[in-house]
């Protein structure tokens, strides 16, 4: 079944997630969709699968325009989507998961379903036990189930959103085999990913997205450089960068290993010098977040040591890390960083060291006004934090940090900020560096990573690159590492 998208637009508030997308995807082919976080690929796929409605534009199947108002509409038209975190029912069995959503009578014909399921899975050499519970399966197995289910329901178009995140190499091989078989049977497959190697290997065609636009389409043989350039764009010329003078090591991570439901990170060795900035690059979900939270004392490493100034602090509780001058600034500002309903003054009172039993409101207001000025926050001491814009919330988060701080851990410090605010944020951070504070930050903006870091570490599926000197790294190199090449 050929799928044609004509002029699809989708906006979320001020963000133009899909800007006039026009594409054709042919049956029997595997269409690759490449792009970094926020490029618009997930949104487009959610529109195609009925989860969202497009603001403008048309979808055609085999030339006929169709309306997709809901996910069940999509399935009725034969379009099925495998989500990055497969949408299933964790505490239920494989067989039950299959049955739910299938149209039929009141009594499911369990034996029939079982039979069809076993037959189908044999074709792809899957090995799922129909009686096992979903929450005992690996991500790869859950994917397999979902693919089977969609096929069983009659899907002719299969969308796979970041399917190779969190599955083993063996499972990936099997997945690719399966996809090739399906393509051979005439299905239309859409493979959305940020992993260059996978996309180059598997796809018959690649479409590259960036900031809501379809910037280019390619056919094999693929040029990685060209793909990277399309994905990340050209970088504006950088200012002169001063090389960091070597100074004493304040933080050391020895053979740090972290484990998570989806990832394993093994053996990180890193020495951070006073005043050094280390950028953590990579697609979301590659392990940077877990690493930075471990540095903050929120996650316990399963192996390895963390040392501050030579003293071992591994395994100590979070507030101990805080007391030692390790400051953590989370990415979700309102969910984890700030307290909705409380004013700016309230936040500053909470952040400062307690002075007696009573709160001196006047002093607190004066302090807050001062901070508002210093950090250029557009708000008054009595503004409640949820009324501030994203940029001002970020400024607040930074303003809340105490001085002095030994190590600052920031998740996406300039996400959602305009250029001016971003530059301002970094000037404040650099100020701190001059006073000896080390900075570890996560960002998905390559320019930011290259420009501000002294050294860079790239994360890909739990694997970590050795620290690279930012001065000697190019956008291209970075892009390739982020896409998984060169590990």
């Amino acid at each position: 079944m050929n799928v044609e998208l004509k002029n699809i637009h989708k906006r979320f508030g001020a963000v133009h997630a899909n800007n006039g997308i026009c594409m054709v995807m042919e049956s029997g082919k595997i269409q690759g969709i490449l792009g970094e976080n926020g490029a618009g690929k997930s949104t487009l796929m959610k529109i195609l699968s009925g989860y969202y409605h497009a603001d403008e534009g048309e979808i055609r199947l085999d030339g006929r325009p169709i309306k997709i108002d809901s996910p069940s509409d999509a399935i009725n038209h034969g379009i099925g989507m495998l989500h990055q975190d497969p949408l299933d029912f964790p505490p239920m069995t494989v067989l039950d998961n299959l049955i739910i959503g299938q149209v039929g009578g009141i009594f499911p014909k369990r034996k029939k379903v079982l039979g069809e399921f076993l037959e189908l899975q044999q074709k792809f050499d899957f090995n799922l036990n129909p009686e096992s519970y979903i929450d005992t399966l690996t991500v790869g197995e859950r994917q397999q189930l979902e693919i089977l289910r969609l096929l069983w329901l009659g899907a002719r178009v299969l969308i796979l959103d970041e399917p190779t995140t969190g599955i083993s190499a063996a499972q990936k091989e099997k997945l690719f085999e399966t996809l090739k078989i399906l393509a051979g049977q005439g299905m239309t497959l859409i493979f959305v990913s940020h992993k260059l190697e996978d996309v180059e290997f598997l796809c018959d065609r690649i479409a590259v997205f960036r900031t809501g636009n379809l910037v280019g389409e390619c056919e094999p043989p693929y040029q990685t450089d060209a793909l990277v350039e399309m994905m990340f764009g050209r970088v504006v010329s950088l200012d002169e960068k001063k090389k960091l003078e070597t100074s004493e090591v304040c933080f050391e991570f020895k053979q740090l290993s972290i484990e998570d439901y989806r990832l394993e990170i093994r053996g990180i060795n890193l020495k951070i010098q006073r005043g050094e900035v280390i950028g953590l690059a990579g697609m979301e979900g590659s392990g940077q977040s877990q690493f930075i939270r471990t540095c903050a004392g929120l996650i316990r490493p399963v192996n390895g040591e963390i040392e501050l100034g030579g003293k071992r602090i591994t395994g100590k509780p979070y507030h101990h890390f805080m007391d030692l001058g390790i400051a953590y600034v989370p990415a979700s500002r309102l969910e984890e960083g700030l307290i909705p309903g409380l004013s700016l003054t309230d936040h500053f009172v909470l952040a400062e060291k307690q002075n007696g039993f009573l709160i001196n409101r006047e002093k607190a207001q004066l302090l807050t006004s001062q901070r508002i000025k210093d950090f250029n926050i557009k708000g008054t001491p009595s503004s409640i934090v949820e009324s501030l814009s994203g940029g001002n919330q970020q400024r607040t988060l930074l303003a809340l940090l105490r001085t002095p701080v030994n190590l600052m851990l920031l998740e996406h410090p300039t996400r959602g900020l305009d250029i001016e605010s971003s530059i301002w944020v970094w000037s404040k951070l650099k100020d701190r560096c001059k006073h000896g504070t080390g900075v570890l930050f996560i960002s998905s903006d390559l320019e930011e990573i290259l420009h501000y870091s002294d050294r860079i570490m790239v994360f890909f599926g739990g694997k970590v690159s050795a620290p690279l000197e930012a001065q000697h790294t190019t956008v291209d190199q970075l892009g390739q590492l982020i896409g998984g090449k060169g590990f």
Partner: protein
């Protein structure tokens, strides 16, 4: 004690537990869909009074039961509306309705206190009632009690063995997936809340028209049943059969309290009646404790054999609620 008396006692427990069975099964359905109806205590009192009032006024048992179901459904509708559409706290609305329902029951019921009303007749099933041991216990009951038996089985069957029942589990566990699979999550939540509420609404009349006929206001002995029912739903792991087991166990303990009364003259009857309630906390503790973090750490420090044994024990006791219980669903 003679075996005959024991049989009568056990049969009595089954009969006396019938109201709570209705309430527990009804609430299990509602909570499976992801909604907590905390108003049970008030609803049961209100429907007991209301059902009795209607039955007396129209001299019809059927109308009495119907009235109970309707009232229960209406209260549940308020809960559903406030929480699903207005997105207010389910706990807050439920608690207020529990208080309001109770006061309404006492207020509106005071004129009819002490009246004699129709009473559900006993309905022993011929032939079956003559089976030794099982007969007098199970088949010498009345219609509502038989219905309660059926209800347990039907509810279990519906939830776990039918297609719409599986979707019911789905909307409580992961509404996003259910939505993607084509279910109108909020509409189903309304539906199941109302159905559950209607079943809870039947609990009242089963009490005031059968178990302890009549409406006696504050001393009817019904106050508190609603809270117990809520706890038993949790104890039952949101499974009608396991929950029924909890109900009968509770009934057994209450009966034991009555039976042991003469041999323990120092302890007033009220205490023994109330005694099973603290057991409720204990059971909740047992089923929840497996989920606590410190338990995991503690287990890690034990020797292997002990740890395996304890872990297995805890896992079998552990119940986890439908993951989306109490969380409103919004798509997009």
């Amino acid at each position: 004690m003679e075996p005959q008396l024991i049989f009568i006692g056990l049969a009595g427990i089954l009969g006396a537990s019938a109201p709570i069975i209705f309430a527990v099964v009804g609430e299990t359905i509602t909570e499976r869909a992801g909604v907590i109806n905390l108003s049970l205590n008030g609803t049961i009192l209100l429907t007991a009074m209301g059902g009795f009032a209607v039955a007396v006024t129209f001299d019809s048992l059927w109308l009495g039961f119907l009235a109970g179901a309707i009232i229960g459904a209406l209260v549940a509708l308020v809960v559903a509306f406030s929480s699903i559409t207005l997105k207010q706290s389910q706990v807050a609305v439920g608690f207020i309705l529990a208080m309001l329902g109770r006061d309404l029951a006492y207020f509106l019921g005071s004129p009819i206190m002490g009246l004699r009303g129709p009473r559900v007749p006993a309905l022993p099933i011929p032939i079956l009632v003559d089976i030794p041991i099982i007969g007098p216990i199970f088949f010498n009951q009345n219609l509502p009690t038989y219905v309660s038996f059926l209800l347990i089985v039907l509810a279990y069957f519906y939830i776990f063995k039918t297609r719409p029942g599986l979707m019911l589990q789905g909307i409580g566990e992961r509404p996003a997936t259910a939505y993607v699979r084509g279910a109108n999550v909020n509409m189903r939540r309304y539906l199941y809340t109302i159905i559950g509420g209607a079943l809870v609404g039947l609990a009242g009349p089963v009490f005031s028209l059968s178990v302890k006929a009549g409406w006696k206001g504050t001393i009817s002995g019904l106050d508190g049943f609603g809270w117990i029912a809520l706890a038993i739903v949790i104890f039952g792991g949101w499974n009608p059969i396991r929950a029924a087991f909890g109900v009968y166990l509770f009934g057994l303990l209450q009966w034991l309290g009555l039976v042991l009364q003469p041999s323990l003259p120092n302890i007033p009857s009220q205490v023994l009646q109330v005694a099973p309630f603290p057991l409720m906390i204990l059971t909740l503790l047992l089923v929840n404790i497996g989920n606590a973090e410190w338990v995991d750490r503690f287990l890690a420090s034990l020797p292997d054999a002990t740890r395996h044994f304890l872990a297995k024990l805890l896992r079998s006791l552990r119940t986890s609620p439908p993951a989306s219980l109490g969380v409103p669903f919004e798509n997009e």
